[in-house]
Symmetry: C2
Amino acid sequence: MTFASTNQKKFDEVKSILALRIAVDFAQAELVEVQSDSLEEIAREKAKSAYARVGKPVIVEDDGLYIDSLKGFPGQYSSFVFKTLGNAGILKLLEGLGRQASFRSIIAYYDGKDLHTFEGTVNGAIATRAAQGGWGYDPIFIPEGAGVTFAELANNKNDYSHRKRALDKFAEWFTRRD
Amino acid sequence: MTFASTNQKKFDEVKSILALRIAVDFAQAELVEVQSDSLEEIAREKAKSAYARVGKPVIVEDDGLYIDSLKGFPGQYSSFVFKTLGNAGILKLLEGLGRQASFRSIIAYYDGKDLHTFEGTVNGAIATRAAQGGWGYDPIFIPEGAGVTFAELANNKNDYSHRKRALDKFAEWFTRRD
């Protein structure tokens, strides 16, 4: 199985989550992304574009942070917003506003014939300041029940991770279908 | 000529700018948008998608507000950011930061054979509070040399407008090519 993404850190997580179940290699690639309100549609198109590139069964991920008081911002544009505003910008925007948020991951699998998607979600809140460590929004996202951010959870991030939840569904489907 | 867009207000401007030169009708349509760093690429793909929809020569526009101190945010995602954060969010983000910005418009023309793009830019700054009237980012964008926002310029907006500048280039090319 190949995981296609621009993001090496995402691949490291995917590989570690699937480790005992499915062997995964990495294709670092810029993939075509459509602008859409639907993470699932973005992931499906990305999977097709990845398959066209690597020519063998692939999985891709699209994920987004949805902040309730900001009408779902940054949502499907989380990656662009992280590169421009960063966590500091999100914290500034949330001054005086509600902090409820959720993180959603869609894993899309395509082998040239079958196209399947798997979703994982985790509810939580945005911290009032950024923690040390982690990557992306990990320093400011506190999953429900954890009491600390993804960044502070470090190796225990996977007890809560939206990505882990989506990959578990994928792995269950993939290992049973043969 | 058909102008395809989801945005009626954009069409009203386009029609009025081209009025004495080219007759334009409106196709209100959701068009496929790719996620790209390049406004031009987005506009080109949108023009092809619009032509496939309406089956006759079309123009489409993609525009973006680029704020220097926010690394170009909201840029190519200006429409999504307006719907979620609005002008209030932009003003909050800019507290204590530089206010230089530019507005860029790309007009893309496609007739099933020829694909051409035309660019217009206006430099300016983000106001410290939103003015009354206007639409989109007009209440907070002050074009260089105007001293007031696009919203306050009202009928004189076209003396500075990025959209007007792109459309003028298009009109000149289009009316001369026959």
